[in-house]
Point group: C2
Chain length 314, copies 2
């Protein structure tokens, strides 16, 4: 790993005897690979956030399943362990379903990975066309190459907008408690040479009021059939603030994130993580995601284009 | 220092040769006192947040001025150093003006400290009368005994409401970047035996949407003549969110926080602190305060009572 574009295979890949991941817990200080020798180890890597991001965990799980199949392990146990590693993102289960029925799971997983990155590039192109000129874009969490197995969704849009000359700079919400914005998104922007500043999550409101933010761009972990969007905790607050300040909120996510089996946001399970991630000293709550109702979303951008939310899920 | 009520003299006091502070940077892990042997050392303690909170820094500055007078130091230089230590809170300058013209600055500073704590108890009584029964109160930053030199303003209201049996529990926004909520407010609530949970700042929105928050109570660093409120960064966002969810936002602060010389929030200087407080690795912005416009404030509670904002400043 060096400066510039992140090679998809440097983020996650299948080798003969392991799924190899760039350990995202160690970034930005250390660029270290983690070798997972079994599906159970991949599930652990997903649960402990060595790999995170809706699409990247789907790809890692698909590789984990393929690894189990190649080793002759119990693939049904592998499937269950991987599908249960995290509850909110729908792509995890979707990706596993893609490889489970394939005659060659390893080839299917690699094709899936390749297709997801291509999908990001299409989404990003569609999303970049929405940005006004010279704009400052606020993004939350990490919806970059790290989250998607390559290129990125919301951060891919920022990159495409920067390359077109319409995005002037990015503001990065640090994204407590695990600082995916301050650690991962800022690291990706630095590599890409895109001007950026990290802000605390709660500074977004006053920067909006001061006219320093032109639009908000986020990814999604699951989109319900009515267009409600589950994403990293804090997204919903940004959506309310964007509406209050009459700024657009764009959700950039592959169509595989839309779950027709989830009618509305109320049906999306919200993972509650260990309170110690928030405070080791005092009682704490730690919901990892929130739900933004469809009426606060300006557009959902998938590989098929930018649409009003009701049309994007239709 | 132990469990229970925080004695005002344990937070800040004047001794013969020093101003002695509970070092708030070290809490909650260590309860350590810091001895400041000169006004310049008190100014340093204010600037580096060993003592913080609008009223507490005013009291510390008043003691610092009295110390300079007792030592026969240049009191005008002491005044300038103390008044310039932080720009946003108006109480700092106000407190210094109270002691500067006194014949006995030490006695005047001690009287000021005593009056501020009594003022908190009156504010808290007025504010507690506003709470609905069995309510969950969200507070931001630390407007407790530590911030006020004793008892607390917004957190004093929570305490008075708990003692009356109307407040069931407190939610504590951790308050990035320096975690005054997670470190100081939670520590005070633990000492007082009031049930509480720390949340990340950006979890407030979804907890409001879920009906888990009944009202928001904050302090203030300066209130403009029109009722606009400067307070810790993040307050304005909570105000927008509270309005969106039809929840009341109460500002609890002594009348000395109202600055008739500041016409509106636009005239309040917002301190930009070292970006390294936000990120040591990437570029960052670090405004320490924001301004909540008067129309988002349900009531301002001073020692004179709870009033609609326009009346509170009249």
């Amino acid at each position: 790993v060096g400066r510039g574009d992140l090679d998809p295979s440097s983020i996650v890949r299948l080798e003969e005897d392991a799924v190899v991941l760039l350990d995202q817990r160690r970034l930005p200080d250390d660029e270290v690979e983690l070798r997972c020798g079994s599906a159970a180890e991949v599930a652990d890597a997903i649960r402990t956030l060595a790999v995170r991001g809706a699409v990247a965990i789907g790809i890692a799980a698909a590789y984990g399943y393929a690894l189990a199949a190649a080793r002759g392990d119990d693939v049904e146990a592998a499937y269950a362990a991987l599908a249960g590693a995290r509850p909110t993102a729908v792509n995890l289960r979707w990706a596993l379903e893609q490889v489970r029925d394939a005659s060659d799971p390893a080839a299917a997983a690699r094709a899936l990975h390749c297709a997801e990155v291509a999908c990001c590039e299409r989404m990003a192109r569609h999303a970049a066309a929405l940005f006004p000129s010279s704009c400052t874009v606020l993004t939350h969490c990490n919806a970059g190459a790290l989250a998607m197995g390559g290129y990125g969704s919301a951060l891919g849009a920022v990159r495409a907008g920067w390359e077109r000359g319409v995005v002037a700079r990015a503001l990065v919400a640090e994204t407590r408690p695990l600082l995916q914005g301050a650690r991962l998104t800022a690291w990706e922007l630095e590599r890409l040479g895109i001007p950026h500043s990290v802000i605390i999550d709660s500074a977004a409101a006053s920067l909006m009021a001061a006219g320093e933010i032109d639009c908000v761009v986020v990814g999604a972990d699951r989109i319900a059939a009515n267009g409600d969007v589950a994403n990293k905790i804090g997204t919903y607050g940004l959506a309310v603030l964007a509406r209050h300040h009459e700024l657009p909120l764009y959700v950039v996510a592959p169509s595989s994130t839309v779950d027709p089996r989830t009618p509305t946001g109320e049906a999306i399970p919200i993972e509650e993580r260990d309170p110690a991630e928030v405070s080791r000293r005092f009682p704490a709550r730690n919901p990892a995601f929130d739900v933004t109702p469809v009426h606060l979303v300006t557009a959902i951008v998938t590989e098929h284009g930018a649409r009003a939310p009701a049309e994007a899920v239709a």
